[in-house]
């Protein structure tokens, strides 16, 4: 890798540490995907990038499923460390409930809450021992032990990519302290940036909206995807974690209501992790493809008549970007400031405020496919203008140079 490095100026960033709680095949999550691709992209540009992560695959169990140790993933040096489970699940669950209720926690309780999910002391010790070797350390997302503790080690050279959502966790004092302590922050969208200022008034001084990106596929094969998965009817797609917090339950309810009130030709196809747990009355209309390999995803987006994004808790919404890139219309929950911002800024997506509006959006896609395609085309142009890796990596490099320059002075 060092042999491929570009000419380095004094302020250039050479050696980078990316710290993410999960990494690797089978890991589903927006921040994890951005971290992985940003690390690989910066490595391709000649930076020396190490990814420090855990052995966990599931963000529920945090069990060590990958082997600890050092390996290489494409141009990135990958170091995995074993997680340590919480000492008391009862205490962790009790604190979790209080956080969800927005009950105020003492500083000690907040720390106990952070410790109650997983800890990865080996990663901390490794980073503490080598922090001075790195020009910059990038941590993400905001609510995990690896970020909260990692930010204590060398804050002058640390950037947090928080992937903030307006949720109870974001308003913990420990999050405010983390975002205020470090040198820089990367936000994926302007609404997230604004939320960052509200959460942490003394926000990291070198923060920037860098965005995120997806690879632009050279071609799509929607017909092949349909054939491989036996999808004969038109369908709308939900891609991602099938969880309450991501709006999956509300989407099922909304889709059922839409079917009851409109003669929709669509099935609802879903892929991702988590149990789809489809109610019996919807079993004939919902197709769960389970977990799909990354290679399949572009074709899945292209094969859909529309992508539905029901999640409110989005800091970027990668699936929306991927759908637009595939020329697929997007119908999204208006309660997500980030996705609504994308839809308005691009002029390419529709938002719904309730089940009736969801039904009308789907009825529009069914009744006016040409107009829906025209919207999707605007979305694609928007993605190509703002969210290709060339654009995003340029922004990240500018920020990295700025942070590295600040502590070198």
């Amino acid at each position: 890798m060092r042999g491929r490095r570009r000419a380095i100026t004094y302020d250039a960033v050479v050696h980078l540490a990316f710290v993410a709680p999960r990494y690797g095949p089978g890991v589903v999550g927006g921040s994890e995907a951005v971290m992985a691709e940003a690390a690989r992209g910066l490595a391709r540009r000649g930076h020396d990038v190490e990814m420090l992560t855990t052995c966990a695959k599931s963000h529920f169990s945090w069990a060590n499923e990958f082997e600890a140790g050092v390996s290489t993933d494409r141009d990135v040096t990958l170091r995995r460390f074993a997680t340590v489970p919480a000492r008391s699940r009862v205490t962790a669950a009790r604190l979790e409930q209080r956080v969800q209720r927005s009950d105020p926690l003492t500083a000690t309780e907040e720390l106990a809450w952070v410790n109650g999910r997983f800890r990865v002391p080996d990663l901390y010790l490794h980073l503490a021992g080598r922090a001075q070797e790195f020009d910059a350390i990038v941590l993400s997302p905001y609510l995990f032990w690896s970020t909260v503790y990692g930010a204590q080690i060398a804050p002058e050279r640390t950037i947090v990519m928080p992937c903030l959502h307006d949720e109870p966790y974001a308003w913990l004092g420990i999050v405010r302290a983390t975002l205020s302590r470090v040198a820089g922050a990367w936000f994926l969208s302007e609404p997230e940036h604004q939320l960052g200022h509200r959460v942490a008034p003394a926000l990291a001084p070198l923060h920037a909206v860098v965005g995120a990106a997806v690879e632009v596929p050279s071609a799509y094969d929607p017909a092949g995807f349909r054939r491989r998965h036996g999808l004969e009817r038109p369908f709308v797609l939900y891609a991602g974690r099938r969880e309450q917090g991501k709006g999956w339950r509300s989407l099922l309810a909304g889709f059922a209501a839409a079917l009851a009130s409109h003669e929709l030709p669509f099935d609802l196809v879903t892929f991702g992790v988590g149990s789809a747990d489809v109610p019996a009355e919807l079993e004939s209309s919902v197709v769960d493809l389970g977990y799909l390999d990354a290679d399949e995803l572009p074709d899945a987006f292209a094969a859909a008549d529309a992508l539905v994004q029901p999640s409110v808790n989005e800091s970027f919404s990668r699936t929306v970007i991927e759908a637009w890139l595939a020329g697929t219309p997007v119908v999204a929950n208006a309660a997500s400031p980030v996705v609504a911002w994308h839809c308005e800024r691009s002029g390419g997506g529709l938002t719904y405020a309730d089940e009736r509006e969801l039904g009308e959006c789907l009825a529009f896609v069914a009744a006016a496919p040409k107009a829906a395609a025209a919207l999707a085309e605007r979305g694609r142009s928007y993605v190509l203008e703002h969210y290709t890796w060339d654009v995003v990596l340029d922004a990240m490099e500018r920020s990295l140079t700025s942070v590295a320059g600040s502590w070198r002075r």
Binding site: A260, S261, C343, E344, G347, G348, G349, L350, T351, Y352, A353, D354, R356, E357, G359, E360, C361, A363, F364, A367, A368, K370, A371, A374, L375, R378
Partner: protein, 260 residues
């Protein structure tokens, strides 16, 4: 100003025009109250207005309003099955009730929905009391001018705009022309909101009507208006007494009190 007739949301160009007229009066600063026989109508008050009931409702409001705008529309005040006596009584009573207003405008739907025609002694009194008669076509104007007492300067023809119902189109096909437009998203989004709001109203109406079943319900804004209850006996007595008092005062030569 008292406006009597059907204003939207029940569909139809006549309702849209009367609604637009009422809105224009309100916009120029008049205090407007709309009285409608159709309870779906976005009126201030609803009442049964067929036959002589219209005269009662108008008369009881005469003291509170300077001006009356009265729509003559199907079923208001006469239905196709009303007999001759009913027609005569209804129109005569309405003519009397209109005397309580300083200014009266009668707006006719087209064709003029007065069973038996606009002529006759009873109707002459009504049309003769009006300061302005608004019709929608020259044919309608000619019919009115044939009635003794209808002077040409008081008859105005207001030809409605073609297709101008005043309601926004709520069909997806209305987007076809906007596919290349920069405002395509805004237009689709607006249509989504309008249609969802319509669906919400339908659902609410379904619940109000006791329909707890999921799925589409009948559009309450289509079809015939639900029948409303008429004025009670107390209303009738109150109006008759008021009328008697006024007649007695007039006979003894006392001037009527100025109206607000």
């Amino acid at each position: 100003m008292l406006v009597v007739g059907t204003v939207p949301p029940p569909g139809g160009p006549a309702a849209a025009r009367l609604g637009a007229a009422a809105a224009a009066f309100a916009a120029r600063g008049d205090a407007v109250e709309v009285l409608s026989p159709d309870e779906r109508s976005a009126a201030h008050r609803h009442a049964r207005l067929d036959g002589v009931r219209l005269a009662v409702q108008v008369a009881r409001r005469a003291r509170r309003f300077d001006a009356l705008v009265l729509a003559i529309e199907p079923g208001l005040p006469l239905g196709p099955d009303d007999d001759r006596l009913t027609r005569a009584l209804s129109l005569a009573a309405l003519g009397l009730a209109c005397r309580g207003f300083r200014h009266v405008t009668v707006r006719f739907a087209s064709p003029i929905p007065v069973p038996g025609g606009v002529g006759g002694r009873a109707s002459e009194g009504l049309w003769g009391r009006a300061d302005e008669l608004v019709v929608e076509s020259d044919d309608d104007r000619d019919q009115l001018l044939a009635v003794p007492g209808c002077r040409p300067e008081r008859v105005r023809v207001e030809v409605p705009e073609r297709g101008g119902s005043g309601a926004a189109p709520s069909d997806w096909s209305s987007l076809a022309a906007a596919e290349g437009s920069a405002e395509l998203r805004e237009r689709v989004q607006a249509l989504v909101r309008v249609r969802a709001a319509q669906a919400a109203r339908l659902d609410a109406t379904g619940r109000a009507l006791g329909s707890g079943l999921p799925g589409p319900v009948h559009d309450p804004f289509a079809g015939a208006a639900p029948r409303l209850g008429g004025p009670g006996a107390r209303d009738v007595v109150r109006v008759v007494l008021a009328r008697l008092v006024r007649e007695v005062r007039a006979r003894v030569g006392s001037a009527g009190r100025p109206r607000s």
